[in-house]
Subunit: 119 residues, 2 copies
């Protein structure tokens, strides 16, 4: 079974070297040689990482045979952002519930009844 | 080498069943049996996924031997959100650059020179 798009993206991001490559590409396009430099890695090792990133749609590469600059693509990252949105709402809702609870304490004090029954 | 925290999180999220488990836990705590139901999966198969999620800090589990309810933890997801922030700025910056470019066109019209040369 072929992994779904979002799983491919998360899997590609689960590596510090690949995340560092993306961070470098924020500054602009770069060749394999330029990308390999800061990592003290061989060209083939970097190429392997680039293939994973390309397969996940996180980067695209130029068509020129020798000079194939890598370019960051933001669509896949936006999909992660949209997926996260659901959970962002959750942690914001937790703050709202805490707020409601604190307001409740000032009014009805619902916990008192339970404590009274135990006596 | 032990993978870093963020790599562990991304790796755990790179599976549709594990993401579906997290989506279920948004509605509240659940036991392994409750989580296994919608997936038509065995308890041990679900337990394996839960271990990956727990190891990545995405969920915690209760202490009770039999009833060990799973609870969603948002800290690891917030770390993903913070990591994304850097890239969010990038796609917003691209809009700004486009805006600058369009303003530039109204002023200097730099492309006209090039076209004139071709004639």
């Amino acid at each position: 079974m072929q992994p779904d798009r979002l799983s491919l993206t998360f899997s590609a991001l689960a590596d510090p070297t690949r995340r560092a490559i993306l961070a470098r590409l924020v500054r602009g396009e770069a060749t394999v040689t330029e990308l390999a430099k800061p990592f003290d890695m061989s060209g083939p090792a970097i190429s392997k990482h680039l293939k994973v990133l390309e397969n996940a749609g996180l980067i695209t590469r130029g068509r020129e045979a020798q000079w194939r600059p890598c370019k960051l693509e933001t669509v896949a990252l936006k999909n992660v952002d949209e997926w996260l949105e659901h959970y962002r709402a959750l942690w914001e809702a937790r703050f709202d519930r805490l707020d409601e609870y604190l307001h409740g304490l000032q009014g009805k004090k619902p916990k008192e009844k339970k404590r009274a029954r135990k006596k």
